[in-house]
């Protein structure tokens, strides 16, 4: 007679998206009668319990993390865009994830797009190109698969954290990006060569959960909900700030090119430029222009994600860029001979990159964790981090063996303790960590904003003078702070 099986687990775990999908998802949950108190854009509590479904718990993740969490079995069900589902499944077709219900909101498409200033009228024309085609995208797996299926002869994929519309035509031939309609691309001076994939928001499930657990009460709620004639969640959209991308068609590879950050670093960068006496239009306030204009310097400027800048500086797309020391080092740890160098510490944006565990984990140092692993009390260490290469190096240098690195896209504190044992994350005051009952056991480095430059550009006589003069002005600005 076979041994008795374990009692059926009754707790149902749901992975919910943060960010732009949150308002519509919250409305959907309310409409189908599943209530979470803190599922709002303002919340900092990412662990949620349903008051009308005691057996249901949820956690809020970056949308990209939802399919990964469901596929690895940390969550039974999840809600996310089909673009991120496909991005995972195209690379890992055997992943244990099943699409269940199309909710129909955040509908759009992934496009293979080029700049309207580029001479490509069709995909066929791209196929005939002998030079390497540069593809920039937030969806590197889908882009790579599309390139192979289209039989592009030679291509390079630049994975991006976002704002990919800023790259064509000078710094990328193709952008693979999501848009709700083609007009949206046209507003960014892009032309869709072909839609790659229609996207919508789905309920997904872990295959094993479907096979071994009873999650029917939740599935039934959703499936009844979508049969309603009035689907109020379809009309809910997340607010977004208008962004311009005013490329005029003039472009010279010999021009000096600077990248400055969007997001949190925008405001201190504005302050610094002001102190340096640099006048810039389209960046300081109001509508952000992805291509602001600097007066007094013969420099072309772009606004993009600080995480992406080192890669583009290394490739010569930018001669210099304002990024964080953290992202600069994360790039260098991955590509040690990359032609990028730090030229100036800008002083603002100070953070510490720290190693974090839950308060109740019986360790105070990284050495304690190593001993747990060596003794066999801990079989494998799960480490969540945005800084994959910094984390990888740190774990190797500290002889953590074995470990699994879980890439995240921000708000990593939500991963502890259920979905990761250790977090490698940046913090300013440590308050958010304390709120989540986490403790710091090591500091890997301190990071501030810095100006990084392409080493070859610094040696190019035509650029050197302009770059030196701009760096001097910024340096003077730093001294004034």
């Amino acid at each position: 007679m076979s041994a008795r099986r374990k009692p059926l687990e009754k707790q149902i775990k749901l992975a919910l998206p943060k960010g732009k999908l949150l308002p519509a998802t919250a409305r959907l949950l309310a409409d189908v009668g599943i209530s979470f108190d803190n599922y709002t854009t303002e919340t900092r509590i990412y662990r949620l319990n349903s008051w009308n479904y005691p057996g249901l718990s949820a956690k809020m993740f970056h949308e990209k993390d939802v399919p990964v969490q469901v596929a690895v079995g940390n969550y039974d069900l999840g809600i996310c865009g089909s673009d991120w589902i496909e991005e995972l499944q195209v690379k890992y077709p055997a992943s244990s994830m099943v699409k269940l219900i199309d909710f129909g909101y955040d509908r759009g498409a992934l496009y293979f797009a080029v700049s309207k200033w580029q001479p490509y009228a069709s995909v066929q024309e791209l196929l005939n190109k002998k030079h390497s085609l540069r593809i920039v995208t937030e969806y590197p797996n889908l882009a790579e698969s599309a390139a192979l299926n289209l039989r592009l002869k030679k291509y390079q994929v630049f994975p991006s954290w976002g704002s990919v519309e800023v790259y064509p035509p000078e710094d990328a031939d193709i952008a693979v990006l999501k848009a709700y309609e083609e007009k949206e691309l046209m507003d960014q001076n892009l032309v869709a060569l072909q839609p790659m994939l229609q996207t919508s928001t789905f309920l997904i499930a872990n295959r094993d959960s479907l096979q071994d657990k009873d999650v029917s009460s939740i599935i039934e709620r959703f499936s009844k909900g979508i049969k309603k004639s009035k689907k109020s969640w379809l009309g809910v959209t997340a607010p977004s700030a208008p962004i311009a991308n005013t490329y005029t068609g003039s472009y010279s590879r010999s021009a000096v090119r600077l990248a400055i950050p969007d997001g949190h670093q925008r405001s201190p960068t504005v302050e610094l430029l002001k102190k340096a006496g640099v006048v810039i239009k389209g960046y300081t306030n109001g509508t952000l222009d992805r291509r602001p204009v600097i007066s007094g310097y013969d420099i072309k400027v772009k606004v993009s994600r600080p995480q992406d800048m080192p890669l583009h500086v290394a490739n010569g797309n930018y001669d210099f860029a304002v990024t964080g020391k953290d992202w600069y080092l994360d790039h260098l740890y991955r590509f040690p001979s990359s032609p990028i160098t730090k030229v100036l510490d800008l002083g603002f944006g100070w953070v510490r990159i720290v190693v974090v565990v839950t308060e109740d984990m019986p360790v105070d140092t990284i050495g304690d964790i190593r001993r747990l692993l060596q003794s066999g009390k801990m079989k494998s260490l799960r480490v969540a981090s945005e800084y994959i290469n910094i984390a990888d190096r740190y774990l190797n240098e500290n002889h953590m063996n074995p470990y699994k690195l879980i890439p995240t896209w921000g708000a990593s504190e939500v991963f502890l303790p259920e979905d990761a044992d250790v977090l490698i994350e940046n913090t300013q005051t440590g308050k958010t960590l304390a709120t989540h009952k986490l403790k710091i056991i090591d500091t890997i480095m301190e990071s501030t904003a810095c100006l990084v430059a392409n080493k070859h550009s610094l040696k190019t006589s035509a650029k050197r003078g302009i770059m030196d003069s701009f760096i001097s002005a910024i340096s003077a600005g730093v001294e004034k702070t």
């Binding site: 192979l148 291509y155 790039h331 991955r334 590509f335």
Partner: protein, 422 residues
């Protein structure tokens, strides 16, 4: 907990390696005798080597092991070699393009992801490439070489299955489907859906009869192709291609090589332009190859025709055994009490046995299994006791030369004498 190998990876144990080395030696010896020279390409190549040639299917390219190198900030990916032929063609273009004809062979592993992890994701191939040969005689040479190797391996009744990519391409061209539909049809065929071609053929009376014959029947002599040729109202291109196929099969008939023509047997690779063939053992594919005239120029080289084949070591090893006469004779050296003096004598005996052509190992702790001959080394005269386990006989001797004579004499000397006598 014992740390285990990666999913989909396999260890080759001593008995596997014995098989592998035997297979390798038969393959190398045969290829060298036919005038082929050995090359080895790196395990890492640029991914664009495989994408730019446009010769591997997207399905295959989606399963390669590709990654960014430590200096891969440009996004240029490298790949663990997914195919044996394309790197050899790259090697030829880069280093040997000045040669009119290059006959090359290689023994290499190729990498490809496989879902279940129960099959090998690193597979070994033994391949030959004849670059520059443009006649049916080149096709014939590689076929006969492949056949010869398999017969020498003595692993059973090898079946040769033939097809012809040129014949199929010319028939598909005659369907006049347009670029997109034609490309779709090729995709279906690559995935093994021959019904798609059958259906498409039905709409063109000029080719439907010949397509039906070629796709639905299998031939065993060149007569089958003659019949198809006679039935055809097709183009000069088709006739030229089937004549090319006929030239080969007629020669195989004349040389009494058995084969089967199965036009639906070619799938997977897209770079073949003419003859395609497979070697089968108990209906399992153990090798295959063909003519790929377009590949060298496609990869930036001169307009050179080429053909070749590869044998699949993993499958072959399941079906072959190493003949006992090829196995090295083992002598085990052991001492009852391993003192400095007996240890020195053990090592001296081992060196002398090696020089005489024997495999001789020392059993330091007395734990190793007995061989046919085990020599016990003592500290006092007569120093050596030779135990013949098969004859259950022990003889004591006092010199190394006597030991060697007792176990059969110097193998090296015998080989030299035999060579002289020849």
């Amino acid at each position: 907990m014992i740390i285990q190998k990666c999913k989909g990876a396999y260890d080759l144990l001593p008995s596997d390696m014995e098989q592998f080395r035997y297979l390798e030696s038969v393959f190398r010896e045969s290829a060298l005798k036919w005038g082929y020279q050995e090359v080895r390409t790196p395990s890492l190549e640029y991914l664009h080597l495989f994408t730019s040639a446009g010769t591997l299917s997207p399905a295959m390219l989606n399963r390669v092991y590709s990654f960014l190198d430590w200096d891969g900030w440009s996004g240029e990916r490298v790949v663990l070699r997914p195919d044996g032929t394309i790197p050899v063609v790259r090697l030829f273009n880069e280093n040997l393009a000045h040669l009119d004809v290059a006959k090359l062979f290689y023994i290499t592993s190729v990498f490809g992801f496989e879902d279940t992890g129960t099959k090998n994701r690193e597979r070994w191939q033994l391949g030959v490439e004849l670059i520059g040969g443009n006649t049916v005689l080149s096709d014939l040479e590689v076929l006969i070489l492949g056949y010869e190797i398999l017969i020498r391996l003595n692993c059973g009744q090898v079946k040769l299955r033939l097809s012809h990519a040129g014949v199929l391409r010319s028939l598909i061209k005659e369907l006049k489907l347009g670029d997109e539909a034609e490309s779709r049809l090729f995709g279906e065929i690559r995935d093994g859906n021959w019904d798609a071609l059958r259906m498409a053929g039905k709409k063109k009376p000029a080719v439907s009869a010949v397509l039906s014959l070629l796709l639905n029947l299998k031939g065993n002599t060149s007569g089958f192709l003659q019949n198809a040729r006679a039935l055809s109202r097709s183009s000069a291109e088709f006739k030229a291609q089937i004549d090319d196929f006929l030239a080969l099969t007629t020669k195989l008939d004349a040389m009494c090589y058995p084969y089967e023509i199965d036009m639906t047997s070619s799938k997977g690779f897209e770079y073949y332009t003419g003859l395609c063939f497979q070697f089968l053992l108990k209906d399992k594919r153990i090798g295959g190859g063909g003519r790929y005239d377009g590949l060298v120029p496609l990869m930036g080289g001169k307009n050179k025709p080429a053909c070749g084949f590869a044998l699949y070591a993993d499958y072959l090893m399941e079906m072959m055994s190493v003949p006992s006469e090829t196995k090295e004779k083992w002598v085990l050296i052991r001492s009852g009490a391993m003192t400095d003096q007996t240890a020195e004598r053990c090592f001296e005996l081992a060196r002398s046995l090696h020089a005489a052509g024997y495999v001789a190992g020392i059993d330091f702790d007395g734990d190793m299994q007995d061989c046919q001959f085990t020599v016990l080394v003592e500290s006092k005269k007569p120093y050596f006791s030779v135990v013949n386990t098969m004859k259950k006989k022990t003889i004591t001797l006092s010199s190394i030369s006597e030991v060697i004579d007792e176990i059969g004499g110097s193998v090296v000397r015998k080989k030299k004498a035999a060579r002289k006598a020849n």
